[in-house]
């Protein structure tokens, strides 16, 4: 039964977190990507196998599994396909899968494909092919625990769950892949190997099934762990792991993102420099203050007052023609200021002109009943706009009108806003 649950998730590669539709492919992937000797390109079967091969054949020490994630590069751990993955990592992976996506799509597809795949795959798995090589679901085996060379013999007789530590013996090293897996060694090409496995497994059903049970433990534990996480309501911990751990590429890769699974913007917004504190200078402060109540309710007359205030502010701040611009002129003024001073210093250029405006605005707002603001402005769109043409004509308005003709066009649009 544990098996069935397992089908819910795709086989995945512990070294790089990549998922596969089929464990066969996963094993091919591991051999090609993670267990290939960089010197002679021989494909080994496990990380330790590779390490021993390199040490003995090439006299080179390998300390990391090639193309693996930084935290999954341990070459001591024996992993073959899905076998030997540390239980906590299985849980983690399952958690992420279930936590994030119940992955309806993939799950639907999978059962069928996987049902077929699993028997064949698992059969060949640990007990047969990789006796002595394969790690167990028990997780990483401490190096010191190497079982004896006899292991392959014993395995057949042991209950599945006893097959735990299956690292190869130091003595076995040279032979390692070949010796421990006679059938495989003859057929290096990954595919042929599997057909052989298949036939083998059919030969000995006992071992075959025992494998199934072996793989069960990790499977059963995973769902529960996932649900536990949910019950805790512990969103953060698992989430935090998502970024650093989840990398779905074939090769060793890393997502450039803070470990926390929170958006960059949220993280950034926490920085003191971005705290939306009321600004030290009154303009912004007041502005903010008064706008809150402003949301409450407005009145047309006030809007006009406000507008007027703005206009005067604009006049004061801007120079010459911009001043004449009044309402529209404000923008005109700003523009000219900007054009001259340049935006670079930020609102630097604006501050003189626009800044003044801002200051004024709050004042005028302040004069209004606290309950008013919002509407004032909006009516402004409707009420004031129509006036604009006349108002604008005199000043440097023309250009502005040309710039934002939309304002006029907006009128009809703004009207029907009953939803």
């Amino acid at each position: 039964m544990g098996r069935k649950k397992k089908k819910a998730s795709k086989p995945w590669c512990w070294y790089c977190n990549r998922e596969f539709d089929d464990e066969k492919i996963l094993i091919q992937h591991q051999k090609a990507k993670h267990f290939k000797c960089h010197i002679c390109h021989k494909k080994l079967y496990t990380g330790p196998g590779l390490s021993i091969h390199c040490m003995q054949v090439h006299k080179e020490a390998i300390d990391k599994v090639p193309n693996s994630l930084p935290n999954r590069s341990n070459i001591e751990i024996e992993i073959y396909g899905m076998e030997g993955i540390p239980p906590e990592d299985v849980k983690e992976h399952e958690k992420q899968k279930s936590g994030g996506g119940k992955g309806s799509d993939s799950d639907d597809d999978e059962p069928a494909a996987k049902k077929k795949a699993t028997p064949a795959l698992l059969g060949p798995g640990p007990s047969q092919v990789t006796q002595g090589i394969l790690p167990t679901p028990m997780g990483p085996v401490p190096p010191g625990m190497y079982p004896g060379p006899m292991q392959s013999m014993q395995m057949q007789m042991m209950p599945p769950f006893m097959q735990a530590p299956r690292m190869m013996m130091p003595g076995m090293r040279p032979l390692f892949p070949a010796a421990s897996m006679p059938p495989t060694s003859t057929s290096k090409p990954t595919f042929p190997a599997y057909s052989i496995y298949g036939s083998l497994s059919s030969g000995s059903n006992t071992a075959y099934y025992s494998n199934a049970t072996i793989s069960a433990p990790p499977t059963t534990t995973t769902p529960s762990s996932a649900s536990e996480a949910k019950e805790n309501g512990d969103v953060k911990p698992p989430a935090a792991n998502v970024c650093p751990l989840v990398t779905a590429t074939g090769a060793g890769s890393k997502i450039v993102h803070p470990p926390e699974d929170v958006s960059l913007d949220e993280i950034r917004a926490r920085a003191p420099r971005y705290k939306p504190k009321p600004k030290p200078d009154q303009p912004a402060h007041h502005h903010h203050h008064h706008h809150q109540p402003a949301l409450m309710s407005p009145s047309t007359s006030q809007a006009e007052v406000w507008v007027a205030a703005h206009m005067s502010a604009a006049v004061a701040a801007a120079r010459q023609q911009q001043c004449a611009a009044l309402r529209r002129g404000v923008l005109g003024g700003v523009v000219s200021v900007l054009g001259g001073g340049g935006l670079v210093p930020g609102g630097g250029g604006l501050v003189p002109g626009g800044g003044a405006l801002v200051q004024r605005a709050p004042v005028s707002v302040a004069q209004m009943p606290p309950v008013v603001p919002m509407l004032p402005v909006m009516p402004q769109f409707n009420l004031v706009r129509p006036l604009q043409p006349g108002m604008l004509l005199p000043g440097g308005m023309m250009p502005m009108g040309a710039m934002f003709p939309g304002g006029m066009a907006g009128l009809p649009v703004m009207q029907p806003r009953y939803r």
């Binding site: 958006s263 971005y274 903010h288 923008l331 523009v335």
Partner: protein
Amino acid sequence: MFNQLAGAQGNPNKDLEVTSPPDDTVSALEFSPPSLPQTFLVSGSWDCRVRCWEVEASGKTVPKAVQTMDGPILDVAWHDDGSKIFMASTDKSVKCWDLASNQSIQVAAHEAPVKTCHWIKAPNYTCLMTASWDKTLKFWDTRSAVPIMNMNLSERCYCADVDYPLAVVGTADRGICLYTLEGKPAEFKRVESPLKHQLRCIAIFRDKKSKQPTGFALGSVEGRVAIQYVNPANPKDNFTFKCHRPPATTGGYQDIYAVNDIAFHPAHGTLATVGSDGSFSFWDKDARTRLKSSEMLDQPLTKCAFNHNGQIFAYAVGYDWSKGHEHFNPAKKNFIYLRACYDDLKPRST
């Protein structure tokens, strides 16, 4: 580290630099709607400012105006008539900036920073849609202090897009919610993200023939984009592709960068992605091919936009916090570049 190695010069794609760029990272970038005869570009940035430039046919940019809010800007949106700009900020408010009067007034409020704002123009109504980290989605008649409609999101809003009659919102925990805007806004369905990582951006695309919104592209922090149809004719129509993963450098590890923004070309229906890796790419989702990939810049690209007729592609360059605050260098300048893109985005076949 990668950034320093990559672009020696700041503008390897030789694009037009927008004058007087923002003082801090650009968080929002929008061209003016077709209702305006001229082209304006508006940016919102982390320096709490919203800037407006006029983009002349020559590509010359003229700074026009600036507005300041009390917190960093997270999004901007144009009113469909081009007369106003909505600005969403971490100060939990959205303001409406009337360009004619150069006044801004608060039109929406949330309990937390407002991540997105979009102007909705339906035949029978108009309203402002805002989504926030307070896990709500609100629709506002801009004249009222109370939202017309208030909907709960499953999580904090991370991205949203609107193309009448479809609205989509992507949230933390990989949630996606679709809304139909016909008649009035209503939740349409919630879907599971096809991407296994945090959502970062979302953009609606239209059907080639009907020109109606038919699906959306999602970008995640894991250098991957998913193309999703609302009602896929064939499940195979939905797919994902990898992007913004520069070739492995030292150490053999491949760095995978966030897809910071996605924009669809208004005429061709092809799309552009910009990434934390400092590059942009153009894609043809139907042919499932990449049309172009840019040279690498020395800083992340945070936002991109097409103007309404698809002649201009704008992208913003600045630090996006992807390597944490330690890598933030306030002295580093931010840029916005413009590029003539019409031909680059033509679909491959046809």
